[in-house]
Amino acid sequence: MNGERDPEPSSGSRSQPSETSSPQVLLEVVDLSKSFGPVQAVQGLSLDVRAGEIHAVCGHNGAGKSTLVKTLVGLVRPDEGTIRFRGEELSLRNPLDAQGHGIALVNQELSLVPELSVEDNIYLGGLDVPLVYRQRRLSERARAVLDQLGLRHVQLGTAVETLSIGERQLVEIARLLVRDARLLILDEPTATLSKPEIERVFRATRDLVAEGRSVIFVSHRLDEVFELCDRVTVLRDGRRVGTHEIHEIDRRALIELMLGEMEGARAMVQHEHTLPGSGEPLVKIEGLTVPGSIEDVSLVLESGLITGLAGQVGSGTSTILRALGGLVPGVSGTVCVRGRAVPLKTPRRAVEAGVLYIPNDRQREGLFLGQTVERNLVVARLRRLSRLGVLLRRRAHRAARQLAGMAGVPVERLGSPAGSLSGGNQQKVLLGRALELEGTALLALDEPTRGVDVGGRADIHDLIRAAARRGTAVIFSSTELDEVLDLADVVVTIFHGRIVSIVPRDDATASAILADMTTSHTTGTAAAAT
């Protein structure tokens, strides 16, 4: 980390970042609140974005960033609070409405049509394209905007699918500029980009603010925040914990703001499960690589030990687990269980070799929502619950009752469709599948508590610990720091598909892990930086 401060002299016309509130405010959010069911996503959040500034919004997962963004573009209606934009109070109904006012979101997942040309994509769905239009004028306008974004070399007629991801991102921005967006929201714009592409997006972004437009930059990558932004607002638990000029704050202070009391709270928690790990290596992963996603991941997993993969969304933690489960084509590297190689070609072969993968998307990939809870619970052990292919129904029922009891799923719901349970209970059903399953050497859990409330989360953690106590090696992924710190015996941090650090839990600190999760630095320097 070279520069905590970088006033960015290159774009001179930027409005002066003075301490006073004199610069004109483009966007003003006052006392915004939004809850989803019992979850208070955003609480009394206030924020202002000046004309001509790049304003970073940082926060840990669940801090309320995406709710804020969605509110600003009309995807979510706030329960309370006001949004004033260019002095006018807005009540946005949908993203189109927001665009009409000049607020536009550049999403992580781009919304371009790959088969269409650059120009068609730029005007696709445009409100202001008249029924009878003058092609040349539109073309000239598109050309000008592309040039401005540094896409001089891209022809208007080129199909978008032939462009690089970074170029597509810029086309997406061009599309919003043609609609004259005054406030652009970039949500994790660099997650999938290479270094030179990131540079290009940054350059374009600076040019935009030089014209007096404003940008809200949402990112996990603190380096980029320091490199690009003028001010940063930190959110935690749905509230704003501070807004700072970027040159007034350093990396360490920023991380502390993001974490808040967590570090302290963690010290108070006494972990009852003491001794993990038998010391015998049960599973050896060597050079696990999936082109374009993960690279050269090597780990040794001990029997009874819980290994946590910490990484942001898109960092590759999920791919590692899926690859172990035999669900990723094109994977290379070796995985050995007790010295025997695990075939990674199909989930079936992986299971036979003792590796059980539990997906993170319980609705789509995990559960059979229309089938009964009982059927879902016993799906992984049908072979043991049948003789000569005939199901032993009484035994299957008993097994399901037992698993439901262990997993904390209400036994009286065994006959209900899995889809009728609450999210937390669904997740328990999914995990219940893996409990007490003979022949499982490695349990690979992808985001085991995604979308589960606090109480359910604790239960699920207990289940996972119980599984480990039986001698299974457990590896799980999580984008949530406190979960990793709470559950893992060993914390492995992943950034951009590579292992950044491997730390025993007792030596792990939230700030060190967060630093590793958010930088491309190697272990040594990341540790030194914090």
């Binding site: 989930p347 079936r348 990939e365 995990g366 059979f368 089938q371 049908l382 129904r393 719901r413 009728s420």
Partner: protein, 320 residues
């Protein structure tokens, strides 16, 4: 699924009421038709209905396994039935037992190959089975030189298959027996359970390490095996077999499965539903025939019934 204790009640939606209303209308019309159609309520007519339902019914319950597994339908059933009938009447010269076994094996093989293409390569089942239908038809014409197959005069053992037993034609007993057997397989075996899971959610089935290829081969294999069985009975009943037998078996079997209310998307439904669907369609067809409707009229009415039931069950599924 039978409601058990603890099953929570979903509020009934408009589709539920519409479906109930439709069933009531059909029942009313059927009862009215039964009462007013001359010659309907006779023992011989009941036999005729059951017999007609049997040939299609055997194919339809086999097809149900494909539907439940989430692989939509097979469009090669009529061809499989015709080819089986031809092969059976030809091979009967080697003995009845041998002919039956060989024909069933042939059917199983025809289905297994299609199932492999669908399960292992993820091929679209509709396309694959249309292709298979063409292939079967071509091979049948080639091998039979376009002639009808007639069994040799000195071998008449096959006639037993068409003769009545205790007053009912043999196919009726076969239909009932194989339906019960398959019903048990689907409810009580690991294979059956896994077929339901596969049909419910293919992605989850893969992640849960179910043997998808094997299951799909099994589903198409059973459908085709049953179709071959029906082909044997069709051949024995008609005493000669050609591609003219292809007829509308494919669509009638699909109609039976759909009218029974099996979810087109898989995972929900049962063998019993299809069997009832087959009997219902045979009843309606018989009634229309007795009332003097043309073939076109019969097909039209059948089509309307199927379409309405499919739309309503689909709407209902979507509400779940």
């Amino acid at each position: 699924m039978i409601a058990r204790v603890g099953v929570e009640r979903r509020p009934l939606g408009i589709a539920d009421y519409a479906l109930a209303a439709w069933i009531a209308i059909l029942a009313a019309v059927t009862v009215y038709g039964a009462a007013t159609t001359e010659g309907f309520l006779t023992v011989s007519n009941m036999k005729a209905i059951l017999t007609a339902a049997s040939f299609v019914g055997i194919i339809a319950v086999g097809l149900t396994v494909i539907v439940l597994s989430g692989s939509l339908f097979s469009l090669a059933l009529g061809q499989t039935a015709a080819v089986s009938a031809m092969f059976f009447l030809y091979s009967v010269r080697w003995g009845l037992g041998a002919a039956i076994i060989l024909t069933l094996l042939l059917g199983l093989a025809i289905g297994a190959v299609q199932g492999f293409a669908v399960g292992a390569w993820g091929a679209n089942p509709i396309i694959i089975t249309i292709g298979a239908a063409g292939l079967l038809e071509g091979m049948a014409v080639w091998l039979s030189h376009g002639q009808s197959i007639v069994p040799p005069d000195n071998r008449t053992s096959w006639e037993h298959l068409a003769n009545p037993v205790l007053g009912l034609p043999a196919p009726v007993y076969v239909f009932i027996a194989v339906s019960i057997l398959l019903g048990l397989v689907m409810r009580r075996t690991r294979f059956g359970r896994q077929i339901y899971l596969l049909g419910e959610n293919r992605v989850a089935a893969r992640a849960a390490a179910l043997p998808i290829t094997l299951l799909t081969v099994g589903a198409f294999g059973i459908a085709s095996l049953y179709t071959a069985g029906s082909g044997i009975l069709i051949g024995a009943t008609s005493a000669n077999a050609s591609l003219l037998l292809v007829g509308s078996y494919t669509y009638d079997a699909i109609a039976a499965a759909l009218v029974g209310g099996n979810a087109v998307t898989g995972g929900r439904g049962s063998i019993a539903r299809t069997a009832l669907g087959a009997i219902f369609i045979a009843t309606i067809s018989d009634m229309l025939l007795l009332r003097g409707y043309s073939t076109g009229g019969q097909i039209l009415v059948r089509g309307i019934i199927v379409v309405v039931v499919v739309v309503l069950t689909n709407l209902r599924e979507r509400n779940r």
